[in-house]
């Protein structure tokens, strides 16, 4: 097989912080240049990703069930959950806004759960199925991760802006906290996932 040698075969490890290729032959703990810890793979990648994913899944339930926002208009307050907000916009004809909120707040986290779970399972089973597509999926998950914070930002902004005492008042409700946690935890999960595992085929390589 004429293929360039792999870094593992040359006993080289890339520093995550400064990008220096360090010699791993005597298993140094730190980067020679910047002193950052050296790992051949992200440490505990699968375990951490699973943990964060499960935690975010747990938080996803209250995030959707609890109200995220309380809108008080002329003294009549109403709690709204994410889904009720989407429904409200949809019923009032603002289907575009409803779609944006739906995608950013419900579809994207759900997609992330599914995608990460898929990646984790396939990696654990050392599947060679659609590796490049899976790699693209992981990049996509990392990309859309930030946009999930849209909802949290909207609530934070609106709650800060709309303070008209008796006329109108918007207050955040605990649901948004859980939603923020979901977003943070899914991002952590995506970060702790090592995409190189997608390409690993050999048992000894996976162990290190």
């Amino acid at each position: 097989m004429s293929r360039p040698p792999r870094a593992a075969e040359l006993n080289l490890v890339l520093c995550h912080a400064c990008g220096m290729a360090c010699d791993n032959s005597n298993q140094p703990h730190d980067c020679e240049r910047c002193g950052a810890p050296l790992h051949a793979h992200k440490p505990d990648s699968l375990t951490r990703t699973w943990a964060y994913l499960i935690a975010s899944l747990v938080f996803y339930i209250p995030a959707n069930l609890l109200p995220v926002m309380n809108t008080t208009l002329f003294g009549s307050g109403a709690d709204s959950t994410i889904m009720s907000g989407v429904m409200e916009f949809w019923e009032h004809g603002a289907w575009d806004i409803a779609l944006i909120i739906f995608i950013a707040s419900i579809a994207v986290p759900a997609t992330k759960f599914v995608a990460l779970a898929l990646l984790l399972i396939t990696v654990q089973r050392r599947s060679t199925w659609a590796q490049s597509q899976r790699a693209r999926l992981f990049r996509f998950v990392e990309l859309i991760g930030y946009w999930s914070m849209l909802d949290v930002l909207v609530v934070a902004l609106v709650a800060a802006l709309v303070k008209f005492q008796a006329l109108g008042d918007i207050e955040p409700r605990p649901g948004i906290l859980f939603f923020g946690m979901v977003v943070v935890l899914t991002m952590l999960a995506a970060m702790s996932f090592d995409p190189r595992l997608i390409w690993q085929r050999d048992k000894e390589q996976a162990d290190d």
């Binding site: 943990a51 747990v58 002329f74 946690m181 702790s192």
Partner: protein, 550 residues
């Protein structure tokens, strides 16, 4: 090789690795997440209050997940669903109460929709205009619990546990009262009407009032309640007097109560005591009516101005009122007499009544005896008469008076109601007399008199014409002659006329003559003999002088 051998002691590190592998700290994160989730679930379950269903007539203002249930303006629950009832005649609101609102599932709890209400008594729930309607709640006291309630259409005026007392008032009609109408004591609002309803037989109205503590102590056994709605206009000797409790009572009606000023041995009334609701203050504070006695009167005259409610006076004392005025037809006489029903309260006669009872040993409950008593009065001349109370308006009242000159009437003691004979009213008598006079005047031969008078006048006129044409010219000639005569007489009597001169002379002569006559008389007085002998010649001259000169 040695390197590899030296390496072999190093497997201390894999030992560390295995320890790390056994429990990864990162699992704390999902653990915490699960714990938080569990705590949320537990908290939710702990907070879970009872769910009840309230039935309203309409779902106006009720919105699922929006309408709150409030007690003392604190949210104790929320409407989770609003749907039509199965028979589609009402609306069922499902309400999830909070845990602390457990009391509100008592069977006698009340729920009602608070919305802006504008009544004559004031405006309420104005804040709901902006905030939306909510369900007001009041917890009950019963020990049994319920899941389904029937919502009230209007807020209950009194909440549970409010200190005070409830009383029941009986009236013939509700008047302008309503739930929430104030109750006044000395013009201070101390309570309100909380409910009303028809009596079971439909012959009266029962009104429930609530008097707040501590003013409920002023309701005593002797207390009289009266309807203070509207304005009382009293016309008395001092002029007009307006009396009203307050402006709002004019509009929404009201009840006032008070004990008579002299009410000894007055006890604070017990809760739920029944009172009578009088029509006005004067009637309420008047001495009690006592037993009512219905009497019937039959008038053979038109009774214009006699109204139901007109007073009945006995010797000038008001003892009752007219309750009915009906036209009747007398088959025998072919006339239309007026039947007047009156009710009198003999107890209003006060001391006279008690004395009468004592003197006659009369039992007021014995109707037969009462009829006999009235019969004896009628024999003594008791008659009813419709009199004019007000000449301007023509209002009539019934007067019971003794008229000894009244013609005897047979009294029927068995008739019910007892009938009292009548005499024509005073005004009617006056009218009759006037009519007789007019008839007499009518009978006078005015026409003949007038004719005669006319003929006389014609003759008189003729006579005057004659006088003018004939007699007056003659009179003129006569007057001219008289004038001439006077002129000649005037010239005769003029100062320088010879006639006058002669007259003066004649008068002088006459004077002299009278003097000589007097001298002669004097002389003769002194010498009477000279009548016989004549005058002596030697007689001195002075002896001729009158004696008065001596």
């Amino acid at each position: 090789m040695t390197d590899t051998r030296q390496d072999s002691p190093q497997p201390g590190q894999p030992g560390v690795k295995t320890r790390r592998f056994s429990i990864s700290l990162v699992w704390i994160v999902p653990l915490v997440a699960v714990l938080v989730g569990l705590s949320l679930v537990v908290h939710n379950v702990m907070q879970q209050g009872p769910t009840i269903e309230i039935t309203f007539k309409t779902g106006q203002g009720l919105e699922a997940n929006k309408t709150a249930v409030k007690y003392r303006n604190v949210v104790i629950g929320q409407v989770t669903a609003v749907e039509l009832s199965k028979d589609q005649k009402s609306v069922t609101a499902t309400v999830k109460l909070v845990k602390q609102a457990d009391n509100f599932t008592r069977v006698d709890s009340k729920f009602w929709v608070v919305r802006a209400r504008i009544g004559a008594g004031g405006v309420s729930g104005i804040d709901t205009l902006l905030s939306g309607d909510f369900i007001g709640a009041d917890s009950g006291e019963s020990n049994t619990r319920a899941k389904a309630f029937i919502g009230l259409e209007s807020p209950p005026p009194i909440t549970y546990g409010e200190p005070g007392k409830r009383f029941f008032l009986h009236a013939s009609d509700l008047g302008s009262l309503g739930v929430g109408s104030p109750v006044y004591y000395r013009k201070i609002p101390v309570g309100q009407v909380v409910a009303y309803g028809l009596d079971e037989n439909g012959k009266g109205v029962s009104i429930e009032v609530f008097i707040n503590s501590p003013n409920d102590a002023f309701v005593t056994d002797n207390t009289r309640f009266w309807n203070a709605s509207g304005v009382d206009v009293e016309v008395g000797a001092n002029g007009f007097a307006f009396r009203t409790e307050s402006l709002s009572s004019v509009i929404v009606g009201g009840i006032a109560f008070r004990a008579p000023d002299y009410s000894p041995d007055d006890q604070v009334a017990a809760e739920d005591r029944q009172f009578e609701l009088f029509d006005d203050r004067a009637r309420a504070l008047a001495p009690p009516h006592g037993k009512a006695q219905y009497l019937s009167l039959r008038f053979d005259q038109a009774l214009r101005g006699l109204k139901v409610g007109a007073p009945v006076e006995f010797l000038g004392v008001e003892i009752g009122s007219v309750v009915s005025v009906n036209l009747d037809f007398d088959v025998e006489k072919r006339t239309f007499p007026v039947n007047v029903g009156i009710v009198i309260y003999p107890q209003r006669l006060g001391r006279a009544h008690t004395k009468l009872l004592k003197a006659l040993n009369h039992d007021p409950d014995d109707e037969k005896a009462a009829a006999q008593l009235l019969g004896s009065f009628v024999d003594n001349g008791l008659r009813a008469q419709a009199r004019s109370g007000n000449l301007l308006t023509g209002q009539l009242y019934i007067a019971l008076d003794f008229d000894p000159k009244a013609p005897k009437v047979v009294f029927d003691p068995t008739a019910r109601p007892i009938t009292i004979p009548t005499v024509p009213g005073s005004l009617e008598q006056l009218q009759e007399q006037f009519q007789v006079m007019v008839e007499r005047l009518n009978r006078l031969p005015i026409e003949r008199i007038a004719n005669n008078l006319d003929a006389n006048l014609v003759e008189l006129r003729k006579g005057l014409q004659q006088f003018n044409s004939r007699t007056l010219p003659g009179v003129q000639g006569t007057l001219q002659e008289v004038s001439k005569t006077l002129q000649s007489a005037n010239s005769t009597l003029a100062e320088d006329s010879p006639q006058r001169e002669q007259l003066t002379q004649t008068l002088d002569e006459l004077g002299r003559m009278s003097r000589s006559l007097r001298e002669l008389a004097d002389y003769l007085g002194r010498n009477p003999e000279s009548l016989l002998r004549g005058r002596p010649k030697d007689a001195p001259a002075d002896s001729l002088k009158p004696s008065s000169r001596n």
